[in-house]
């Protein structure tokens, strides 16, 4: 079956996030960017499905400016077969991303769409579910296990207080949680090979989607800074402070 994986270019998770002095957003100038960690897990899962013989083609799609092609190439180096870049410099919010992905789904007709559960920049946790609703597909969110079984896929989900397994009709949307797998690193030969894999570029207009942001960010601020507290001399003092000063035990 064909698997479509959506990936997002975000700030690298190890970079210290700095709010711009004018409070219009987060400073992304000269900051290391990378594939969203949950999207890496999505790519890895697709590659494992192909290695198991369940998937026969992996298409990776990313939405955003030209630079997103770096993340598409990374996914191709990890084992995806071809890429689609929906190129736009506009602010694409979750609903529009879902509409663009829906258009891609209609063209590609994948049996399974895998996305990260959320991106570590906007932290919305929306796009996969919105895509599922717009396409009328079943959804298995926050997946820690994905087992394709004929016309169905069983997805074990990370839910509050435990795990829940659901059986979904295919085609379906799966969003990844951390425990699903541990992504591999791309080898140098695969990185070289990825450069030759096909990558189609299209615009939102080509897909018939108009980008109309519904949410306006009025300001972005740094969180209230925590003050460093005191050093205690020993464990006895620590327990005393916790009990009598902070009153948390």
């Amino acid at each position: 079956m064909k698997v479509l994986v959506a990936v997002k270019r975000v700030i690298d998770y190890n970079v210290k996030v700095r709010v711009k002095p004018d409070n219009t957003g987060v400073d992304l100038a000269n900051v290391k960017m990378a594939m969203n960690p949950f999207c890496e897990i999505a790519v890895e899962e697709a590659v494992r499905l192909k290695e198991k013989g369940v998937a026969n083609e992996i298409v990776v799609v990313s939405i955003g400016p030209k630079a997103c092609q770096e993340q598409i190439r990374t996914a191709l180096a990890l084992g995806a077969d071809r890429g689609i870049h929906v190129e736009t410099d506009e602010d694409v919010q979750s609903l529009e991303a879902a509409k663009l992905l829906k258009a891609v789904v209609e063209k590609e007709e994948p049996q399974l769409v895998i996305l990260g559960k959320q991106s570590i920049d906007s932290d919305n946790n929306q796009t996969g579910q919105m895509l599922a609703a717009l396409t009328g597909m079943a959804q298995g969110t926050f997946a820690s296990e994905v087992v394709v079984d004929g016309e169905k896929v069983n997805v074990t989900r990370e839910v509050d207080g435990g795990l829940m397994t659901v059986s979904l009709k295919l085609p379906a949307v799966v969003t990844t949680d951390l425990r699903l797998n541990e992504p591999r690193y791309a080898s140098l030969p695969n990185i070289m090979k990825a450069k030759k894999k096909p990558l189609d570029v299209m615009s939102p207009a080509d897909l018939g989607v108009e980008i109309t942001p519904r949410l306006t960010t009025l300001k972005v601020e740094a969180p209230a800074a925590r003050q460093a507290g005191v050093k205690v001399a020993d464990v006895a003092e620590l327990v005393d402070k916790l009990k009598n000063e902070a009153k948390v035990i």
Binding site: V26, D123, R157, V166, L215, K219, P223, V239
Partner: protein
């Protein structure tokens, strides 16, 4: 304005998070209806009717909602929600699952994980794992919102007397079925909702040494966490990871043991009320956010901590 709050529950009891969502609805202002969708969930509806500030409780009691499948709940809430100005639920895994479907079906944006209400259309939410705080204005006619419960003090659970109305709306999308459920076996509280969390880092050296922390956790009734470094090193499973790509926690007390305090870890715990750090490296960045720092070898300090706690608890 009229607000629809979708209750979070387990078919037998109303989750406290719902009371925080009602508090967020009160901050927006307007009539507040609560939808209880589930199976044999009469007790939940009764509890919801007593919550402060609720005008009406709508009950959709049917097997199709018994396991809170996102497809079915999404269809139900999208249909009911058309008559409201705001639709709110808690940002637990159930709300996160069905709510974006509601927004998409209504063709409106969703504002996720709000921690404050500025006005009827303007909300405050953390982004970049809490490393930045955004104020967002929603332009759509229906505002679809998930609420981070720790951001709002819950309304009183008693004192209200809302009317209860049974709905006869059965939405079965027929896309997914429930197979099984595996609730966490341990008696320890869930990491994300625990009042106290104790976490170990690379300094623990191996998985076996986490047993020391478990003993302290059991004394305190604490949840157990770990840094990404400890997870990557294979000491403990992935689901214990606290940090930007793991669980975001904000307990009353967070105890970091042998954790240096990488940015990615701090992003997951720096909203904790009181932070304790135990680390032998005096220069470790964790001390910059800790209320109480103890520079010590954890292999001596943790057993001592256990002994001291036994004396006072």
């Amino acid at each position: 304005m009229s607000i629809l709050v979708i209750a979070e529950h387990d078919n037998s009891s109303l989750k406290q998070a719902t009371l925080s969502v009602v508090a967020a609805a009160k901050a927006i202002g307007g009539d507040i209806d609560v939808l209880v969708a589930g199976e044999n969930c009469g007790a939940v509806a009764e509890a919801a009717s007593k919550a402060e500030g609720v005008s009406k409780v709508l009950v959709a009691d049917n097997a199709v909602y018994g396991h809170f499948l996102g497809e079915n709940l999404g269809d139900l809430v999208a249909e009911l929600g058309k008559g409201y100005s705001h639709i709110l639920t808690s940002a637990g895994t159930t709300g996160k699952d069905f709510m974006p479907r509601v927004a998409a079906l209504l063709d409106v944006a969703q504002v996720s994980d709000i921690i404050r209400v500025e006005s009827e259309d303007t909300f405050v939410r953390p982004i970049y794992a809490g490393n930045a705080i955004a104020t967002v204005k929603a332009g759509d006619s229906i505002k679809v919102i998930t609420v981070r419960p720790t951001g709002f003090d819950p309304v009183a659970a008693d004192g209200g007397s809302a009317s209860v109305e049974q709905l006869d709306v059965v939405k079965d999308a027929g896309l997914s079925t429930f197979v099984s459920e595996q609730k966490a076996k341990s008696d320890r509280p869930d990491l994300a909702s625990a009042g106290i969390v104790i976490s170990g880092g690379r300094g623990m050296q191996n998985g076996e040494n986490f047993k020391m922390l478990e003993q302290v956790a059991d004394l305190l009734g604490a949840g157990m966490g770990a840094s990404r470094a400890a997870v990557d090193a294979g000491f403990v499973p992935n689901d214990m990871q606290v940090g930007q790509t793991g669980k975001i926690v904000a307990p009353q007390l967070y105890v970091a043991v042998g954790i240096s305090g990488a940015i990615q870890h701090l992003a997951g715990m720096s909203d904790s009320k009181v932070i304790v750090a135990i680390n032998k490296d005096e220069e470790a960045p964790i001390f910059q956010v800790a209320d109480y720092g103890l520079v010590a070898d954890l292999f001596e300090a943790v057993p001592q901590l256990e002994e001291e706690l036994k004396k006072v608890l």
